[in-house]
């Protein structure tokens, strides 16, 4: 069958199961957009208002659905605009295929109009980046791109397709990619590693599990629960591991890291065997490595060999997918009872409730707080919504005070910490999980970084529930200035527009509140239907996220505020 390269590109994507694309047309990708015009029954193309928005939307879509997120943009500035989302997807292991147009092959290397070395720029922040210069390579490259993006430890792939390759004709024959000899995405489990790990776990009196996103990416939530139940092992989660266990699960001990819960951090330096599953010992989790879990034997389960022994020296590395390694480990561990150890977490939980949560979530007077707003909205959605966040205080508060009843319920920019992630990621999340309520928490700063995407929400009627926790500050930076920079508030105060009026201009309903007495009604109004909505909540200006492990400090050096 003879097709143009552009048609071959779209047909290839359809073979890979693509039905949603986030994109933005322009010169070097116009032949593909022209071909896309005839595929409106098969492919839903969402026109974002900026290419960064397209990438974050594709990330949100991928994170909730487990499918590959797809972007289609032009060359030059479009490609560079997409870079932030690509880098974000790399650090957070999100499967993306980003297709960028490129000038014709004859013009490559001549500094032609809107020519940029996309493959060169994206090489350090992609799992694979490839330039297609002739139509014969399209089917092969697309098949390889999707295989690489979704298999093993997922990640972003960039396909840079020269304009001539989109226009010229090619005999189309699609074969999915199933094997690349230089790439083993899911290594077979090594029985001796499993035995070694099981021996350590069976000898433990105070075993402790750290759950990362690897569990979610492997769809191994049930396998995790079987493992924890049998071993009777308490577990805590990283930011991206949130919702891998439901909030009410008896062995779920909470959130790790800089703004995590007290007991998960304290117990890291008290356990005798630490079992890390699909997490990468990020510095926001470990704090000072020289004082991190030194008393414990460490077991590390990961699919990526480069993560083993990267930050923390491991006593028992276990290479493989959690889907394979967890059941193998469960089979070898003894059924245990660690009641006393599990109950020892409580004293820290009580301390945190008294010193931090009481004030943040259940204040009796004073201005509204972020924590109480998030807690109320979580309750109003039966702890069942997809929570998308921006970055900063809103993010930490949303992660802390949302409750999760099912997996893939927190979509947040973890590794890159991209402000402006919230709005577009929430759009993508809603497209990927149309039957779920999608909440988007943002600060007043991050909201204005990708505010243009309100246009996309309007045009596509994407029913996201946006909440701005407005403190008129770049709150997290302000918090650090207060704590570590002598209260010198250098360029963190913001004079803000009337956000509700802006939403109205985009035909999005909204409300602004400042009083505690208005909160319940405003939440009910926001959740009354499935339409997009903006709720602006003016919260205390100088709120702080506690607990806090100061950067570079020991995980047991936890500030609670007073």
């Amino acid at each position: 069958m003879k097709l143009t390269g552009a048609q071959a590109l779209i047909e290839s994507m359809i073979h890979e199961g693509v039905d949603t694309i986030f994109g933005y047309p322009g010169g070097a990708i116009m032949p593909t957009f022209d071909a896309l015009y005839d595929y409106d029954k098969k492919i839903n193309h969402i026109l974002t208002r900026h290419e960064q928005g397209a990438t974050h939307a594709a990330q949100g879509y991928a994170r909730v659905s487990g499918k590959v997120g797809v972007c289609l943009v032009t060359s030059g500035p479009a490609a560079t605009n997409a870079i932030t989302g690509i880098a974000d997807a790399m650090l957070d292991s999100t499967p993306l295929v980003v297709i960028t147009g490129q000038v014709g092959a004859a013009l490559l290397g001549t500094d032609a109009f809107q020519e940029i070395d996309v493959v060169g720029i994206s090489q350090p922040i992609t799992k694979w980046a490839y330039q297609i210069r002739r139509p014969e390579d399209i089917a092969w490259a697309v098949a390889r791109a999707f295989y690489i993006a979704r298999s093993g430890r997922p990640g972003p792939v960039v396909l840079d397709i020269a304009k001539n390759a989109q226009i010229q004709e090619v005999e189309f024959d699609y074969k999915p990619c199933k094997f690349i000899r230089s790439y083993i995405p899911v290594p077979d489990i090594n029985p001796s590693q499993i035995e070694e790990a099981a021996k350590l776990i069976n000898s433990a009196r105070k075993p402790y599990v750290l759950v990362g996103q690897g569990v979610v990416l492997a769809n191994a939530e049930a396998e995790l629960k079987e493992f924890l139940d049998k071993g009777d092992i308490p577990a805590a989660w990283t930011l991206l591991g949130a919702s891998a266990m439901s909030s009410d699960y008896r062995l779920n001990k909470g959130f790790l890291g800089m703004h995590g819960n007290v007991s998960p951090n304290m117990k890291t330096n008290e356990c005798d065997v630490l079992i890390a599953i699909g997490m990468r010992f990020d510095d926001r989790v470990t704090g000072d490595l020289n004082s991190y879990a030194k008393q414990a034997k460490i077991v590390h389960l990961d699919i990526d060999a480069a993560e083993l022994n990267k930050n923390v020296k491991v006593d028992a590395p276990v290479l493989g997918s959690a889907k394979d390694t967890l059941p193998a480990l469960t089979a070898l561990i003894r059924k245990m009872d660690h009641t006393e150890w599990i109950e020892s977490f409580k004293v820290f939980d009580d301390q945190e409730f008294e010193k931090v949560i009481q004030r943040e979530v259940f204040p009796k007077s004073g201005e509204l707080t972020m924590g109480e707003v998030i807690n109320k909205i979580s309750e109003a959605t039966n702890n069942n919504a997809v929570v998308v966040t921006d970055v900063g205080q809103n993010q930490m508060m949303a992660a802390r005070y949302s409750k999760y009843s099912q997996t893939r319920s927190l979509v947040t920019s973890g590794g890159l910490g991209t402000m402006g992630f919230g709005i577009p990621a929430a759009m993508g999340a809603k497209m990927g999980a149309p039957d779920r309520t999608v909440l988007m928490y943002s600060g007043d700063g991050g909201f204005q970084m990708t505010i243009q995407e309100l246009g996309t929400i309007m045009q596509e009627q994407i029913g996201v529930k946006m909440i701005i926790l407005n403190n008129h500050f770049l709150g997290m930076v302000r918090q650090w200035q207060e704590m570590f920079f002598d209260e010198r508030y250098s360029f963190t105060h913001m004079k803000n527009p009337d956000f509700v009026a802006i939403a109205k201009a985009y035909n999005i309903d909204g409300k602004e509140i400042s009083e505690r007495t208005d909160l319940d009604d405003a939440i009910a109004d926001m959740l009354k239907d499935d339409k997009p909505y903006l709720l602006v909540v003016n919260v205390e200006k100088k709120g702080m996220v506690y607990p806090m492990v100061p950067a570079g400090g020991s995980v047991t050096n936890i500030l609670l505020g007073e």
């Binding site: 060169g120 090489q123 690489i148 094997f179 000899r181 230089s182 083993i184 077979d188 060999a305």
Partner: protein, 180 residues
């Protein structure tokens, strides 16, 4: 931890841009590549990179894992000099009259085990193969006596002393993953 000279060997598919993918891994860690040599390997379609770097074992281990992780890299590993038979090649251009002034050309050939690649009335090109220290010593001695007009040394090439041929083993082992 103590720094040592490590030799990193990388086998890759013969695709565009792989050298860049490898070098950025060094750049991120502010590591200098001491020597670099790239050529087709004994296996058709597979390229071999030999890179030397002065660092600690802890760092070289992480660098090698990150190189190995790139999609089109077949295998990356590292060795110290003890594990390797290694060689570099150096070319020296010296003035013909100075060389003849020094005395016997035969003495030089015998002393340094060199070959003469080119000779004319103006200059002579000498070639010496050896370890870094050996080619460097000859460079220094010639510089001090008759002077060296031009000098160039190749990157290291190396062969492991081990009986195991890691790449072919790895390619065989990977075949089990090729299902259907």
């Amino acid at each position: 931890m103590e720094k040592t000279l490590y030799t990193i060997t990388v086998f890759s598919e013969n695709t565009v841009g792989l050298l860049g993918q490898i070098t950025i891994i060094f750049t991120r860690r502010a590591l200098n590549i001491e020597t670099l040599s790239v050529s087709p390997s004994a296996l058709k379609g597979i390229h071999k990179f030999t890179i030397t770097v002065f660092t600690t074992e802890d760092v070289v281990e992480k660098v090698v894992k990150q190189i190995d992780k790139r999609i089109d890299i077949l295998k990356a590993y590292y060795n110290t000099d003890d594990d390797l038979v290694h060689q570099e090649i150096a070319l020296y251009k010296v003035a013909t009259d100075k060389l003849l002034e020094k005395g016997s050309v035969e003495d030089i050939i015998r002393k340094y085990h060199i070959r003469i690649l080119e000779m004319n009335t103006d200059f002579v090109v000498l070639q010496k193969a050896g370890h870094y220290a050996e080619t460097q010593q000859m460079f220094e001695e010639l510089s001090e006596t008759i002077g060296v007009l031009q000098f160039i040394r190749s990157g290291r090439v190396a062969i492991t002393k081990s009986k195991v041929e890691r790449l072919t083993d790895m390619l065989d082992a990977n075949k089990k993953y090729e299902r259907e």
